[in-house]
Amino acid sequence: MATAFQKIYTKIGQITKATVSLKAKGVGYDELATINGKLAQVVKIVGDDVTLQVFEGTGGIPTNAEVVFLGKAPSLKVGEQLAGRFFNAYGNPIDGGPEIEGKEVEIGGPSVNPVRRKQPSELIATGIAGIDLNNTLVSGQKIPFFADPDQPFNEVMALVALRAKVDKIILGGMGMTNDDYYFFKNTFSNAGALDRIIAFMNTTEDPAVERLLVPDMALTAAEYFAVEKHETVLVLLTDMTSYADSLSIVSNRMDQIPSKDSMPGSLYSDLAKIYEKAVQFPESAGGGSITIIAVTTLSGGDITHAVPDNTGYITEGQLYLRRDSDIGKVIVDPFRSLSRLKQLVSGKKTRKDHSQVMNAAIRLYSDAANAKTKMENGFDLTDYDNRCLDFAKEYAGKLLAIDVNLDTTEMLDVTWSLFKKYFKLEEVNIKKEFTDVYWNEE
């Protein structure tokens, strides 16, 4: 890639596991370089001492390696041809197809002016009641699954992506196992959806630091389709915890003082820069949107760890999966899951009784959890407790389980039928205007 005019440096002063330092002049911050062909990026300049982060790792780099600065930040060529293609973290094809021809755009570009955004208002239907009924997704939203590594989050995400009515699905895989990569590829191709898919993949076989590029690559492609083609784009990022781990590796190699859980002090800003790319544009800007569904894997369900904690403050809610032992199925946990944007659509794009019915059902489900604790502690159960327990079992099986596929009106009707089956009118605490209509309805 070197041209006749580019200076080649051949004297590296310092090598760590992730970075190299050398003396160089006229180098720009964030600029890319190659070191014996390996891609690296400028992360620190002090006088003429330049520190580079080497994406593939520094193994095998000699002190006399050839260093060439490329004069540009990491970038991606964008165009319609991206559709249906699989790329590595650098945006190079890994599916054997041709190179992309198109406009070269620097990744990690500027943020959208908040006054040029539109308030999200379009429901994204998934058919899963744990999501549509209790935690409705809205286009332009950003929301992660908080899940333990053994939970079927990739399966649920693939299901959501295929059911959602979107123009493009962009998958950013970070530290994904090869098996999961094939799972996504097969699921999407079996569904005949490959032409809507674009994937940027960093698997566990690839160097860890490379995955720092993946979210920005995926979102740069997403911005192309949302801004220039006015499309609705769904971006899937899995797994953001691997991404954060790579951030901490680099900051550690640069001798930065770590803050909580050995994560860099800038973790919040680093994650926010990615998630805030989710946006709904107004009609005047073409009406495109970017919705982000991500995965943050937890260790032993601990959400106070810096990665899920900072994520929770950035994203618009979070979804939890849990195995319900009463029905033996995986459900979307109604207690801890939350979609912050649901009130923008529930009762507005769905039936008016939506939020009251949802809240009442969750409250009764929570009463059931209390009854269960009572039972486990060996206390007698009241009639109300027993009814709650029966309700909870049926509610979990008919609505919360991830294999449910209903539209929201059906979900509401099912919930009303369960209310009537197990409770008295005054026990559900729903506004009279709704009980007048739905309580006596057959």
Partner: protein
């Protein structure tokens, strides 16, 4: 002016070699690729000046030129700021071109061409000092004062003042003459360095006037006052932002300034989508007319995040100098603290607790100290009520930002995960939360006059009942429903009445979202009446059924228009149940 050249770059921290004097906090512009990047001096070591850049430093090279401005980070204050959306550096976001924020794009905060109807207040010959009211203009039906320059030292006489009429912000509206004969020309614009507090008032007494927010758990249980300070810590998902928005919609203030500091862009979008449509419950005008938004969302440059809260506070002080009641909300002060941490980390300072800078506590207390209820030099009254949210890492309140804030804020509204999980909103913990103002004799006296002298004793009584209810709930959990006397259940369910009827409130219901003080008085009386009623039940299940039914009726009452037929009907049903 002093010039410099870039000698090092680490993310948004840049070192410059300079050729002359610079001051701490001075603003400079670094030129790269045709863009000018605004930066602020944060440390000087010999000839090396460390600056934090308010923009992305991508592509910045060693040797790039920088020019210093001689002044610190300051804002322009004048008519035309209401209903504006600014970024943290007071750029008018609506004036910026394109969908994306371009680096190095700065826009005028005020409109130079707009004409204002100026009315003089001072006369020729009047003796005035800094911040004296010379005239006024009207913006969105709010009378804004045109004041003598804030930085003016000593006294001066009004030499001339223009007649009532239409003027632009930079037209000279008055000329002042100081004792030494120097003239001071006054236009409608003031400049003020944001990091310095304005102290242009005579006295800052203890605040005592209730600030109505329409949120029952605040107004009735833990009231905040005009010129008071409060903070809302809570883990994510417990409703910090919903509560803050409810307060900013409903509070009885003349001006509301919302600093969205490192938070979600969609939350800001929600404000400027909804506020232009919503009515101010006190004046009937559109909410947006009294609101200013300072948006530094989490993806905007980190250094400007710190600036944003100071920009917002300085604007609040400007309006307070005019005798207005200002409500300032900052969401979230933890993000501001994190911005400080990022910089401190890059400067390789020795870290304090949780890697925050050592002076975090001092910064927070100085900032909260700028709020307050003041008597201005002309005897008029102005106030800044400040409510900040805190986002404690992992929801753990034993962390530096929460602890340092607790030392200075007088009201504490602790949001609780457990309440949020149970959908008991607002999730303000009724037992741990407090308002120090309830203990102020000045406040008690004010409430006796405004409402009645039974109010505070009733509130304190209910607080005790909540505490007792919680203790009994724990006992029931241990001993079982049958293991405690039925009377215990009655005490517990009375506390549930307080919780469900008074404390819980549906922020998304048209009627329930905002409760007038008059209506809060009615609820307080009703709940007190229920609590003071003697009940006798044979069995605890009978008690549970009774109270469930009562709660349901009270909730229906809360959802009905105050004193409507439907409302009165529910009230009489409740009274009938109590009498039975």
């Amino acid at each position: 002016m002093t010039k410099g050249t870039v000698s090092g770059v680490i993310a948004n921290m840049v070192t410059l070699a300079v050729d002359g004097p610079v001051k701490q906090g001075e603003i400079c512009y670094i030129e790269t690729g045709g863009d000018k990047l605004m930066s602020e001096v944060i440390k000087v070591v010999g000839n090396d000046v460390y600056v934090q850049v308010f923009e992305s430093t991508r592509g910045l090279k060693v040797g790039a030129p920088a020019e210093f401005t001689g002044h610190m980070l300051e804002v322009q204050l004048g008519p035309g700021m209401l209903s504006k959306n600014y970024d943290g550096l007071q750029n008018d976001l609506d004036k910026m071109e394109g969908v994306f924020l371009k680096r190095g794009q700065y826009t005028e905060p005020l409109d130079k061409e707009r004409e204002w109807d100026f009315e003089p207040l001072a006369k020729v010959g009047d003796e005035v000092e800094a911040s004296a009211w010379l005239g006024e203009v009207e913006e969105n039906s709010q009378k804004l004062k045109i004041m003598a320059p804030f930085q003016m030292e000593g006294k001066a006489k009004v030499k001339s003042i223009v007649k009532a009429g239409k003027y632009k912000i930079h037209d000279v509206v008055a000329v002042l003459e100081k004792a030494d004969g120097t003239e001071v020309k006054v236009d409608m614009v003031q400049h003020w360095p944001v990091k310095f507090a304005m102290t242009n008032y005579k006295e800052k007494p203890r605040p005592f006037k209730l600030l109505e927010t329409g949120v029952r758990t605040i107004d009735t249980f833990n009231p905040i006052v005009e010129g008071g300070t409060g903070f809302i810590p809570g883990p994510f998902g417990t409703g910090k932002t919903v509560l803050q928005h409810a307060i900013s919609k409903q509070a009885e203030a003349d001006i509301v300034i919302i600093a969205a500091c490192g938070e979600r862009a969609n939350e800001v979008v929600e404000i400027f989508t909804e506020f232009p449509e919503l009515d101010d419950p006190h004046t009937g005008r559109k909410l947006m007319e009294r609101t200013i938004i300072i948006a530094n969302t989490s993806n905007m440059p980190v250094a400007a995040r710190e600036a944003s809260v100071y920009t917002a506070m300085t604007m609040a002080e400007y309006y307070r100098s005019m005798g207005l009641r200002v409500l300032l909300m900052a969401d979230s002060t933890s993000r501001w603290a994190q911005a400080l941490r990022e910089m401190s980390n890059r400067m390789e300072e020795l870290p304090g607790p949780d890697a925050f800078p050592m002076d975090l506590g001092a910064l927070i207390s100085n900032f909260y100290g700028r709020a307050g209820y003041v008597y201005l030099n002309n005897g008029e009254i102005g106030s800044i009520t400040f409510i900040g949210t805190v986002s404690p890492a992992g929801g753990n309140l034993k962390e530096p930002v929460t602890e340092n804030t607790k030392k200075v804020a007088r009201c504490f509204y602790g949001l609780e995960q457990d309440r949020a999980d149970k959908k008991r909103y607002p999730a303000v913990n009724p037992i741990d939360s407090y308002s120090k103002y309830l203990e102020y004799p000045e406040f008690a006296e004010y409430i006796s006059k405004k409402i009645n002298d039974k109010w505070i004793p009733k509130v304190l009584e209910l607080k005790t009942r909540m505490q007792r209810g919680k203790e009994i709930a724990e006992q029931i959990n241990i001993l079982g429903d049958d293991g405690v006397p039925v009377d215990y259940h009655i005490v517990f369910w009375k506390s549930e009445i307080i919780d469900f009827v008074l404390l819980q409130q549906d922020a998304f219901d048209e009627v329930d979202a905002v409760t007038s003080i008059e209506r809060q008085e009615a609820i307080l009386d009703l709940v007190t009446e229920i609590c003071e009623t003697d009940f006798h039940f044979e069995h605890f299940e009978e008690c549970v059924d009774y109270f469930r039914k009562l709660i349901n009726l009270c909730k229906q009452m809360n959802y009905s228009q105050f004193q409507s037929e439907q409302y009165n009907d529910f009230v009489s049903q409740i009274k009938a149940m109590l009498a039975a």
